[in-house]
């Protein structure tokens, strides 16, 4: 136990402030964000991640936004096991033929406002896999998408930014 505590103290807090560019952006939208997350989402935004056919590259970076450097929980953002509790779906693609039904069902199980963020080049437009007998292409071929986060895979910062952009657009979607 003493070793665990020592390692924790030795490591300290490694969470980083966001880089100036992103930071400024967040500050600009800060007021609206605060309103959105605190008022509409009761201080926390809950995300269900759905892999609709990705190569696992995007999943690794989504994991990374949970690590102590990016620490997405400081913004009240956290991941849930069930779409029933989710405010947002974070979907990676391309949507495979075999995942299409599961993705639709997950979307239908999500309560409104059903924010959807399409992650990665494949999630945005099918990427290297394009459209074929087995790949339907981007997420928006199957469910409506609010925000696109391109990249192969997108960096953790791009992901955080995408999530915050979707939250920022939320009051508009509510109507």
């Amino acid at each position: 136990m003493i070793r665990i505590l020592r390692q924790i103290f030795r490591t300290g807090i490694v969470t980083e402030p966001l880089p100036p560019a992103v930071e400024t952006e967040i500050r600009q939208t800060g007021a609206r964000l605060e309103e959105a997350i605190i008022k509409h989402f009761r201080r926390s935004l809950t995300i269900r991640q759905v892999d609709a056919g990705s190569c696992n590259g995007c999943e690794l970076e989504i994991h990374a936004i949970n690590n102590s450097f990016y620490n997405c929980e400081r913004f009240g953002v956290h991941f849930t096991a069930s779409p029933r509790f989710a405010d947002m779906l974070l979907v990676t693609g391309p949507v495979s033929k075999n995942m299409e039904i599961a993705l639709r069902r997950t979307y239908n199980a999500t309560p409104t406002p059903k924010l959807v963020v399409a992650v990665g080049d494949c999630g945005c437009n099918g990427g290297m896999f394009g459209e074929s007998y087995a790949s339907l292409g981007g997420i928006d071929k199957v469910i409506p998408v609010d925000v696109y986060v391109p990249g192969c895979p997108p960096t953790p910062l791009a992901l955080l930014n995408g999530i915050l952009t979707a939250v920022d657009g939320y009051p508009g979607k509510k109507k």
């Binding site: 990705s54 696992n56 999943e59 779409p83």
Partner: protein, 526 residues
Amino acid sequence: MSMLAKALTAAFGGELTIDMRQHPSAVVCCTLPREKFAEAARILKKSYALLAAEWAVDETAFGRGFVVFACFRWVKEYLIVRSELPVDDPSFPSLTKKFLPAYRFERQMQSLMGVIPTGHPDMRPWIKFEDWPQEAFPLRKSFDATKPMPRVAGEYVWSRAEGEGVYEIPVGPVHAGIIEPGHFRFQAVGEMIVNLEARLGYVHKGTEKRFEALSWKDGAKLSGRVSGDSTVAHSIAYSMAVESMTGCSIPERAHWLRAICLERERIANHLGDIGTICNDAAFAFMLYQCSRLRELVLRTNSRLFGHRFIMDKVFPGGVAVDIDNAGKAEMHAELEGLSRDFERLVVIYDESSSLEDRVRDTGILKPEKARELCVVGIVARASGMNLDCRIFNPFPPYDQYDQLELDVPVKITGDVNARTYVRIEEVRESIRIIRYMLENLPDGLLSIDPGVPAPDTNGFAAVEGWRGEILYWLQSGPAGEINRCMVRDPSSLNWLALEQAIPGNIVPDFPLCNKSFNQSYSGHDL
């Protein structure tokens, strides 16, 4: 001539012909009449060979009909057996009763290529879901892959355990965590699992078919996305297969840089796995510590090589990364810190009795079973099998055994702890050999023109990714284009082992066991 080829020549004599289109020449490819396909497997099994892959190719473009291939491995040797099938009767004798892994390979061949394994005990489709049209065989040349496929009605029949008190738990395809999709069905009595059946194929994106529409250069990009966590290993394997076809020998420095990237990928993924295995045993401390170390490795990758996963940096002919003295110093410093922190964590792992209680004797894959299932990589090494392409099929610098002194950890208990410990020791070893490679990195070019494969040539390569042996088999078409790209991710073999390791464990231990295998869904479903 290799041992396996000798055994086959002795048995078949004049019926066997050696296929000279296969490259590199170290990999022997024998053509046999299709009636002898299973007989050859029986003889090879007696010679202690393991089945590495089985696949089918549409060679109608050459006027040859369908061809089935089986690749066997014995220590350092790879041997490929091929048999031609007429177009109007594409059946061949099944290998499943000789080699268990053929079970899924053959279901997949039947589903996607429409060749029929006679004598196969389970003819349910694999990857091809029940709602695909029966006559859709995407890997056939006559199939138009660009068109969307209609859905038809159909039902999948599960294999089931029945009896008093047996209940069923379906899981997936959308899982609770941030992982890839797949469906698992447990039949349990109380807490104990009596049967597990996995159903995969959800992330089938038509990857193998997609290769056939790409140029050799773009193929490298796609191979880097077969399984995003093993992007370096897959693109090395693809590139080496292409290089074997064109006879291109890439600069020494490019080989070494590939090896450095490959080892960095191994470290990053093993760190992630060690953390998540512990997290699934409710030891979250380790997850946060390990993901911190993993993040540091990825950041160094990004700074020195321009991408966190070093994606798209390996292609036929060489590499697109380089390292100067400042970079070497930076990497040395990084490894120094990494090694220090990692050793502290290993002590904590060793000393936590509550963790030990969960990981020891959980999810055991016995050595006999591992051999029967022909598993590879970390799973094999945790169950007593000494397999590692870095030793048996090395590219430079791995072939410098006496300087590199690569130590491959082998455990015999086959439980979650063994699989974790193989990873721990591999991280240490990778750190050590990266240091060696940095200090002895040869000068030279980074890449050369790989040339273009001649028509009707076959290429082969085996590379040890962090999960295990990755195989690529390529064939060029009549115009020198990609006619077929067979990808064999280690997961294609190891998924069967998970099903075998689970029964007898309690339901809450499934995530822990699954994590300790950590197989790729995308690399398997293709």
